[in-house]
């Protein structure tokens, strides 16, 4: 069982405060337990001596048509189906917000316990982690926070251990400074923690300080903008893990909403993301969304990936929407085209696509308690492509329950591999509010069929989940969704 020392300290602090809050002004939150069943089938590499395979060159076929990659004088290798297995991850989330009875002083926490086995599903080794655990104090225009906190900034969504001070006492201007110890992105664990060091030989061996500044201009609904600077530096100060600056903008011009953002890598002096979207009503229920985007992935400086000169793509995207509240119907359709910058790599003899196209359309219809949600999406480009659709039909039962049938069919291809894969399946999904409890669950089967991969066996993948959530305090109960059903 992994319990990080800092996590333990944070959790202890929160639990020490909790009784105070319970007997003071109040506490509210939710305890959720979720268990899943996910079937999977491993890929298994196999080989035969190269001398036993007819033909020449690297790409050959076995007698049954299986594509193999051969090394002269060595082996011909391929990937075929392995055994079918199942995994049972279990998650327990406790989130709570409490008021201490001292005006403006509150505490916030979200803890997660993961049970299962890392054998087949990521991060289900027994772990207890704190996603957030901080104390906040708000008085007039000042907001102080300390502990493990989340920040949404122009540079993304991060949590860290430390403190922040935000001040909004100068009209539309809001300023915030923060600092502390950096956590791995999406890990809720220190930079040099076990999770990362086990995953990568060159993972950071030192923790990192993080600090940043954030300024925002807020003119109500008509205009607001944000600029953020953030730096992460090793605690021995021998190197940086990241240093970036970002900005965001949102403005309403007439009926149109402009929404954009930019992030800039100060080490490689590259724009990672520049995006501008315009959303505008056209009348008669129609709306238009236009977006331009330039994207180059950012890699932290402890990796070598940034030095491999990743290139950006530039994309134009548009979407037309239509909705009729009277009919309870909304429809949307759109597409996008992206083009990658010159890579100066590879050979002309081997074609790697330099562009990609996205197409999508969908609709949502509500008629009384019934709802239908569906869509089609096509994504083609280099690396992998797919097309397929989803459909869910459901009914809300009273104000507190919902049941839905859902299905999807997706064809995946072009994964730099021979063969195509069709995944078709569906299931049932339901949720029910029972007083302070919400019980939800789903069960589904997906049939995976392969084309042109002789050694891959078609199989049926089971998926199911059951979740029980208990709300305490004044936590609002969720309204059963009438939208598409998500999941793994």
């Amino acid at each position: 069982m992994i319990v990080h020392r800092r996590t333990l300290a944070l959790v202890s602090s929160v639990l020490l405060l909790a009784p105070t809050a319970l007997f003071a002004q109040g506490i509210r939150g939710e305890l959720r337990v979720r268990g899943d069943i996910v079937g999977f089938q491993r890929l298994q590499r196999d080989s035969v001596p190269e001398s036993q395979v007819s033909g020449s060159g690297a790409q050959r076929q076995l007698a049954d048509g299986t594509a193999v990659t051969c090394t002269t004088g060595d082996f011909c290798r391929w990937y075929g189906s392995g055994d079918t297995e199942s995994v049972y991850p279990l998650y327990q989330d406790l989130r709570a917000t409490g008021w201490t009875g001292v005006e403006g002083l509150s505490f916030h926490t979200q803890l997660r316990a993961r049970l299962g086995s890392d054998e087949a599903w990521p991060r289900t080794e027994q772990e207890v982690e704190a996603i957030t655990a901080y104390i906040g104090y708000r008085k007039d225009d000042l907001w102080l926070r300390g502990g493990r906190m989340l920040r949404s900034g122009s540079l993304g969504y991060r949590n860290f251990d430390g403190a922040s001070v935000a001040w909004s006492g100068l009209g539309p201007l809001r300023l915030e400074a923060y600092g502390g110890w950096s956590l791995g992105i999406g890990l809720n664990a220190p930079r040099n923690g076990q999770l990362l060091t086990e995953a990568d030989e060159w993972a950071p061996n030192k923790r990192a300080y993080i600090y940043g500044f954030d300024g925002a201009l807020d003119f109500g609904t008509s205009f607001f903008a944000n600029v953020q600077y953030q730096r992460e530096i090793r605690t021995d100060e021998t190197g940086l893990y990241s240093e970036r600056i970002g900005g965001s903008l949102r403005a309403i011009v007439g009926d149109a909403i402009l929404d954009g953002g930019i992030t800039y890598d100060l080490a490689f002096k590259e724009i990672n993301l520049a995006r501008l979207q315009m959303t505008s009503p056209l009348g008669a229920g129609f709306g238009l969304v236009l977006e331009g985007k330039h994207y180059r992935p950012f890699f932290e400086y402890w990796t070598i990936w940034g030095a491999f000169s990743p290139v950006a793509y530039t994309e134009g995207r548009g979407m037309l929407t239509w909705s009729s509240p009277e009919l309870g119907l909304s429809l949307e359709a759109g597409g996008g085209y992206r083009d990658y910058d010159e890579t100066s790599a590879g050979t002309e003899s081997v074609e790697i696509k330099e562009d990609g196209v996205r197409l999508y359309g969908g609709g949502h219809w509500v008629n009384g308690p019934w709802f239908v949600d569906g869509g089609y999406r096509s994504e083609t480009g280099f690396g992998a492509s797919r097309y397929g659709g989803d459909l869910s039909v459901g009914r809300r039962i009273g104000a507190d329950a919902r049941i839905a049938l859902f299905g999807s069919s997706t064809k995946s291809f072009g994964e730099f591999r021979i063969g195509e894969q069709l995944g078709t399946g569906g299931g049932i999904d339901a949720s029910w509010n029972l007083g302070d409890f919400t019980v939800s669950g789903s069960a589904a089967l997906y049939r995976i069929t392969f084309e042109n991969r002789s050694r891959n066996e078609d199989w049926t993948q089971p998926r199911a989940h059951l979740s029980v959530a208990w709300r305490f305090g004044s936590t609002p109960k969720p309204r059963p969704s009438m939208r598409g059903i998500g999941g793994y």
């Binding site: 890929l43 997660r112 949404s152 807020d218 793509y313 859902f406």
Partner: protein, 457 residues
Amino acid sequence: MKRAILIGTVVLAGATSALLSMPQQEGFPHAKHQGLFPSCNACHAGIETGDAEMFISVEPEACQACHDGQVAPRVNWDGPGERPANNLKTVHPGHPELPCSSCHQVPGRSGDMQVQAAGFEACQACHAPNADGHLAAGNDCVQCHVPLTEATGLTEAQIGAFPAPATHASPQFLSEHGAMASGEASNCSVCHARESCTVCHVNAEMVPAIMALGPDPRVAAMTAGVTWDPPVPQSHAVTEWNLSHGAAMREAPNSCATCHTQNLCATCHIDTSEQIAPDFAVEASASADGPLVKIPGHGPNFAVAHGAAAVASSPKCAACHEETYCVDCHDGSGRPSFHPADFVQRHSAEAWGQMQNCSECHSNEVFCRDCHTTQGFANVGQTGAAFHDAVPDWFVAHGKAARQGLDACASCHTQSSCLRCHSAVEGFRINPHGPDFDADAEKAKGSCTICHGSTPE
């Protein structure tokens, strides 16, 4: 609004009708007895004292003193019956100096006994001489009428037949009656009880003018089961109202509190650092289960492209979304909801296409690579490539794919995998840097040693 006007109109129409239909004292022919009685007090002893029981104080025997069949024909009168129910005040003790004829004289006639029951014109003549009728705006109803809760003799039908003052027919009455009521609450009480207001006012218990009205079981019965479908105020129709209503609320909180409770606010406003609308009512039996509103600021594709809004307006987001709301998607192992069904099988195209930045939420090394390795997709040190079998000479071609989708590559391949060929100190020593690579990028030199053994000069 229509229902409110309807209720008000019916109630007040009934009130006027009831007042106008008050039984007149036709039973006793005062004019015929002119000159027989020196004063009114002889038969109406209770007038001066305000004793309603003694309004007609004469006994039947007194009539027989004359109506004995000889002096005058016999009459059959058994004494005063029960007075008809009304909501009139006993006003006589307040007017001791006025002669009875001031209010009771039949217009156009003279003589002491040319009297009748006083109509509202009599009151109005002094108390509101410029008023345009009984129900005119500005009339002080309580000068003559008791509150409805005290007029216990009136039936529901009579209450329902009260006439409505002209003010109630105004299109602005719905929005203006609050101010009118707070200034003339006692006037309202003549026709209304507390239940008249609680039909619409969810915050009735917090409005002094409403609480000043007493409860009345008749009105409660009349309004039981009545629901109100309020019209959407014009203010709510502006663009982005859901985002801009805060200023309006701060300017006129009582206006909002009429229809909205804290529960509704709490549906969206879950900012845990301050209490939203503390003066609003709370529905004890209701959950914070607000309307299914389409937030104007959350346009199409907002679930994917909300980053800028989330960043630039984080205090506004925090008003409606707790941080845990973000966690549900951004770190949502406990409640996957962002991705469509069967995403585990179909996500490769999205990952390569980079519609979203997967690494914003998922650790490439710990989440993606861990799973890909377990499933057999990832390179775990084997030589002899076979996975990318659709691309001949993959080793030669992969550079282009890598530069276009390096994050996808890194979801299977470790840095050590690439260092076999791309290290400067061992292996094939193939330079991975592109033509525009900035070797002087000082800030990123921490990673140079991985390939070069030391930071290159």
